[in-house]
């Protein structure tokens, strides 16, 4: 088993954390994992993306050229990374900020209004957890309980009150693909 995931969006959308949580959960479940960030050439603002590899074996390269899964949280990210997705791969799109669909028919495209759902839950910033929910709901790569543990691990003490809304967002995401 080996899954290569690229997550991308604006700086500030919690892209990095989403990837860290996924990698961490997979580690807790006994997998080999790697996570690498990439900030565009701009020092601040601009796009941000990270690459997560999850595998049963030693991971040769943490750098992904053809992801199995792409999570695109905004339009530039979709445009930049969709062409790289493996044939048969999955693209999860944040419908709220992406008004187009990729022009490939050899991949599975899942549109979800992550930002909208998060807003509905009361905080636009948990859009990342909605998207992560979609990812694990769709692929089953890690168990929701593990992800919740990881969220807890990453939330600093003074933010523990955010636990609930994150959990909700994650579950809403899972529900989106299982409905």
């Amino acid at each position: 088993m080996k899954m290569e995931i690229i997550m991308a969006g604006f700086g500030g959308q919690g892209i990095m954390l989403m990837g860290e949580i996924l990698a961490h959960s997979a580690m807790l479940e006994g997998r080999e994992v790697s996570w690498i960030p990439s900030y565009g050439p701009e020092m601040r603002g601009g796009t941000a993306n990270c690459m997560v590899v999850i595998s049963d074996k030693r991971i040769p390269s943490p750098i992904i050229s053809s992801p199995d899964v792409l999570v695109a949280m905004n339009k530039p990210s979709m445009e930049k990374f969709t062409p790289m997705v493996k044939s048969g791969g999955i693209v999860i799109l944040n419908k709220a900020l992406i008004d187009e669909r990729p022009a490939r028919d050899d991949i599975k495209v899942i549109e979800v209004d992550a930002t909208g759902i998060a807003d509905e839950l009361g905080n636009m910033r948990v859009a990342n957890m909605v998207a992560l929910g979609v990812l694990i709901g769709e692929t089953g790569i890690v168990k929701p309980e593990t992800v919740i543990k990881s969220i807890d691990y990453f939330l600093p003490a003074h933010r523990k009150n955010m636990m609930e809304i994150n959990e909700k967002a994650l579950k809403r995401g899972i529900a989106e693909v299982q409905k």
């Binding site: 580690m27 790697s34 996570w35 960030p37 390269s61 943490p62």
Partner: protein, 352 residues
């Protein structure tokens, strides 16, 4: 033992504390910032010293002072900052002071960019400073190995009274992988009876110094250093060979580049190309032995670097004309994909 998911830079910092590093002196620079930030938080809590120096030059000379005082000490920086430390490194080698120096390399020359690179190889292995000296250079390629090599780095430094360089790059510094901080049995290390700790009843003062006005004395000193270097070359070269049993072609790469090359090698083997990987773990001493091992069967070598060709000279010096040596590199912060390297492997096979 507990596995934790950590960034390379932070894991390095944690490993240093656990390896007994008492003092850290550094000056901010991207992409190694997580390392000093971690130590700024942790050192005060754990009885160590974190001090932000006024410059890289000051930092390396603080390292000199603390190393001379007999404690384990570290500094870290990235390419331009390491260039500024060259005089200091030459002094540390001349005065035989143990310390650990981290270079999380970025694109150059000049201000360049802040993306990953391996173009400080020459500087690290040939001595960017003046005089006949060497630093031990370790090149980890995973976060776990980074951690493990930090312990080794401090031990080697103390064992040989010599600076040890850890050469990483922006990716390694910023990537997260699970790590385990293994407890290590204490190594038998020589006592630091040369350190300047105050005479404290000692008869003769200890002196930390690299000046020998009489060239006869300086030559003696250099020959003594040279002998030490030869001993290190004989004992401490490290490497990993993949598919050494049957491979006819070899890719040589270190650090993050070795990881990508590994993926490329797997691709090639899926297509039935008998290719292996030599991954130097020490860049100085360079593991020439690895080449002797594979040369009987090797038809050609491909060096892959994040540079325009630096380690390739060591490959050539190891191969000595006994097989063709090819090179593929990306530079300025660009990173090759496994596919690109795979293409180069196919070219190598075609040519040889």
């Amino acid at each position: 033992m507990e596995k934790v998911l950590m960034k390379g830079n932070e894991a390095l910092a944690e490993a240093a504390i656990r390896a007994g590093c008492k003092c850290f002196f550094g000056y901010p620079i991207t992409p190694q910032s997580e390392l000093p930030a971690y130590l700024a938080r942790e050192m005060p809590k754990r009885g160590g010293v974190f001090l932000q120096a006024e410059s890289e030059v000051a930092a390396i000379n603080m390292v000199y002072g603390a190393a001379g005082a007999g404690v384990r000490v570290m500094t870290s920086s990235s390419s331009p900052g390491i260039s500024l430390k060259q005089e200091g490194i030459s002094y540390l080698c001349g005065a035989e002071l143990p310390c650990v120096i981290v270079n999380i390399m970025r694109g150059g020359p000049g201000l360049g960019d802040i993306q990953p690179a391996q173009s400080d190889y020459f500087q690290a292995t040939r001595g960017g400073g003046h005089g006949d000296y060497r630093t031990i250079v370790l090149a980890p390629s995973s976060v776990q190995e980074l951690v493990d090599l930090v312990y080794d780095a401090f031990d080697l430094a103390d064992m040989y009274r010599n600076p040890v360089l850890i050469l990483g790059d922006g990716i390694l510094g910023q990537m997260m992988e699970p790590v385990v901080f293994k407890e290590r049995p204490a190594r038998q290390l020589p006592p630091k009876d040369w350190a300047t700790t105050g005479k404290m009843g000692r008869q003769k003062p200890n002196v930390i110094n690299s000046l020998y006005l009489d060239p006869v004395k300086l030559e003696e000193h250099n020959l003594k250093l040279f002998k030490k270097y030869q001993e290190i070359e004989a004992k401490e070269a490290r490497y990993e060979i993949l598919n050494g049993d049957d491979a006819e072609y070899f890719v040589i790469a270190y650090g993050i580049c070795a990881r990508i090359a590994h993926a490329a090698v797997e691709m090639a083997r899926e297509e039935g190309i008998k290719v292996g990987l030599i991954r130097p773990i020490t860049l100085w001493p360079y593991p020439k032995k690895a080449f002797e091992e594979v040369l009987p069967k090797a038809k050609a070598f491909l060096t892959v670097e994040l540079s325009l060709g630096q380690m390739v000279e060591d490959v050539k010096l190891s191969v000595e004309g006994r097989a063709p040596v090819y090179f593929y590199g990306r530079t300025g912060g660009m990173v090759p994909t496994a596919e690109e390297i795979f293409e180069e492997i196919k070219k190598m096979r075609g040519l040889s």
